[in-house]
């Protein structure tokens, strides 16, 4: 086994660590604490946060990549170990091989037979054309009619295991957080639901394809789950990538004013006046060409797909930085007019110090709000980009690619609806949670809304 650290893996872990540090440092700031407390004091906020956290967990687990070692045949004299060119993640292992049980082609959710007829031999050895049984569904059943009972029984058992797992996970939390002023019960309930369904999915997928299979016979549920990493990473990394540019330029423009301000304003007006989709399409094509021309940089295909993915994040970031830049510029303008900043100037405090001490801490809330607000927009944008043909690499599972592929499946008779459903469900839950959460964050941090509440 050989760990593989893709660029996006490194970035996402970097992001998580820096967020953790950030909050660690903020814990002593009473004002910020108060605001966050406000976010978490609502049950909705707790639920939304728990759902997002679950998605992020999956994304992180799916970002721990490694390559399996190949077994050397005995005939081989060498001691050297070679690795599979397929990259596996910890998450793949945790799903219990859900992604490795391939059928021949389409099959419906919980089906026992393939969706398409094939030439098979019947009991008497005659060639007939019928729906062949699946390779990895209901093998343990002696008769197809047992299916419903079997599913029920297995579900109940899975639920019991799930509850056991819940007890293991939630009890320590309960012991720790008893008597807290936050509505932890809401979070625990959500955790319980998520854990139980996770256990249910993993255990049932050993015997059935819960969401059926796609054209190539791959499990749709597994694909939808793999889409989580792409969605979460895209939503966070794009903002992360653009942060340095937007913050630097915005703060500089607002603080130094004069020609710096003119140049920055010119830059963002120019960029934001180009229709976004055209800019994205052109840039994505550009990166693709670069990657195609330098294939030697990437050892395995996954790395290439990953490079494209990072590029996409970067492009999405660059095309959306102008809003953040504008906001930060305005805020900095305001802050630099404040008395204490003027005073610091008068005392001859250096620019770097003023920026670091007074300006930056005061624009952090804008960054946070943008970060949370942009997240869901970016996840949704991915689907549209895939439709236009400039989305993430097809070899990297994503909801956008699933939807794009499923469009033509809808025109089949009978309709193949499960691919679309899978992508829809997992995407909807994430975006909904993110939207609800961002509403709360904005309410808590936006001075305008707090003001409104004060006056109301």
């Amino acid at each position: 086994m050989k760990p593989v650290i893709l660029w996006s893996d490194a970035l996402i872990f970097l992001l998580v660590i820096s967020l953790a540090l950030f909050f660690w440092r903020l814990r002593n700031d009473p004002q910020t604490r108060e605001r966050w407390a406000e976010v978490f004091s609502s049950r909705l906020g707790m639920v939304a946060f728990t759902v997002i956290a679950a998605y992020i967990m999956v994304a992180l687990l799916d970002s721990l990549h490694f390559r399996r070692a190949l077994e050397n045949p005995e005939s081989l004299a060498t001691e050297e170990v070679f690795y599979d060119n397929k990259v596996t993640s910890v998450f793949d292992v945790l799903t219990g091989g859900m992604g490795e049980r391939f059928e021949r082609t389409y099959s419906a959710p919980f089906a026992l037979l393939s969706f398409e007829k094939e030439n098979i031999k019947d009991a008497d050895g005659h060639d007939i054309r019928d729906f062949p049984p699946l390779r990895h569904a209901g093998q343990h059943l002696s008769h197809p009619d047992e299916r419903a009972g079997d599913i029920l029984g297995k579900s109940v058992r899975a639920l019991l295991w799930g509850l056991l797992l819940c007890a293991l996970v939630i009890t320590p939390q309960w012991l720790l957080l008893r008597g807290s002023r936050f509505p932890w019960l809401a979070s625990w309930t959500t955790q319980a639901v998520i854990l139980c369904s996770a256990v249910w999915m993993v255990s049932l997928s050993r015997h059935y394809h819960i969401l059926g299979t796609d054209q190539g016979g791959a499990d749709v549920l597994f694909q939808s789950l793999k889409g989580i990493r792409t969605g979460v990473l895209l939503g966070t990394l794009a903002t992360l990538v653009m942060l340095p540019i937007a913050v630097t330029l915005g703060v500089m423009a607002g603080y130094f004013k004069g020609w710096v301000d003119d140049v920055v304003q010119y830059l963002y007006t120019t960029l934001s006046s180009i229709p976004g989709i055209l800019l994205i399409a052109a840039s994505v094509l550009l990166f693709q060409v670069y990657i195609d021309l330098n294939p030697d940089f990437f050892a395995v295909g996954m790395e290439k797909a990953d490079a494209k993915f990072i590029a996409l994040c970067f492009i999405l970031g660059v095309t959306s930085w102008s809003t953040l830049c504008r906001l930060i510029r305005a805020e900095t303008l305001k802050i630099s007019q404040l008395g204490y900043v003027q005073a610091a100037h008068a005392f001859g405090v250096s620019h770097t110090r003023i920026l670091g001490r007074h300006v930056l801490p005061n624009v952090v809330h804008i960054i946070l709000i943008t970060f949370v607000l942009d997240f869901s927009a970016l996840v949704l944008a991915e689907a549209v980009l895939s439709y236009i043909g400039v989305g993430v690499d097809p070899s990297m599972g994503s909801w956008g690619n699933m939807i794009n592929g499923a469009r033509s499946e809808l025109s089949r008779e009978p309709t193949i609806w499960w691919t679309l459903t899978g992508a829809f469900f997992f995407m909807f839950v994430l975006v909904l949670a993110a939207n609800l959460f961002s509403d709360l964050v904005r309410d808590a941090f936006d001075p305008r809304t707090s003001l409104r509440r004060a006056s109301a």
Partner: protein, 325 residues
Amino acid sequence: MFAYIVRRLIYAIPILVGVNLLTFTLFFVVNSPDDMAASQLGDKYVTPEAIENWKQKNGYDKPLFLNPDAAGVAQLTDTIFFDKSVRLFAFDFGRSESGRDITTDVATRMWPSLAVALPTFLVGIGVNICVALMVVMFRGTRLDRGAVFVFVALMSISYLFYIIGGQFLVAKTWRLVPISGFHTEGQVWKFLILPVLVGVVAGIGAGARWYRTLFLEEANQDYVRTARAKGCSELSILFRHILPNALIPILTGVVVLIPSLFMGSLLIESFFGIPGLGSYMLDAINSQDFAIVRSMVFIGSILYIIGLLLTDISYTWADPRVRLS
């Protein structure tokens, strides 16, 4: 006022030059003139001579930005960039890589775009305001919170699902309207029902939520309290006081969108087969037709700048205290 507009328009020039420079750089790194020739000429028997001929015919046989062979100013002007972008400022978009006149195409395709985008825009605003007003009537109740949740849920559904779902249900399963298409002979509205419906429904979540915030902001103002104290009915407060005042931020907020209605919607148009500018752009991206993309970027930028200008003007109109200078 007039002087202000003129000055703003002059400021637009460097922005447009910048836009052009950027699109040029992006596209020529992706696609050398040779590539463009090859993809336009098809895939059988493409000879180097044919490529040279094509480049000459379409004006791609010059250096990109700097012509070292020319003298003086011609070093800058005798280039592909100068040739192709200066003409844009005179609204001469030239010819697409496949030989069609872009100005004609844009002029004809603008109308279908508008035919879809304008009703969607107007009906959307109307519906959103109605919904938002209804919700505001119940501010502070459980109904209000429920409605906000529904709005957020509606916002969380990808646009693609609205389109796919609408086509699948309304057109395919129920056969109420044509699934796609557009022609001006006869009943155009027949083709507009579904795209407009989809556009409006997809926009309710975000739109109504925004209007609700605006209305709430007004509802908390002192004058509303005064009105209520005076004994005005709830209905008259809503329509006489809150709505007109909230219309100002609504107006200044949506005015920026009006010029871009001409550009149409990329997704709606390509799914519903509407021959507008949105699908024009998508086709251009897919076939890497640089001339069209360049023109569309240019038009888009101009419309955006006009939108900003309109916003400024609408501010003075809505609030006499604001002066443009």
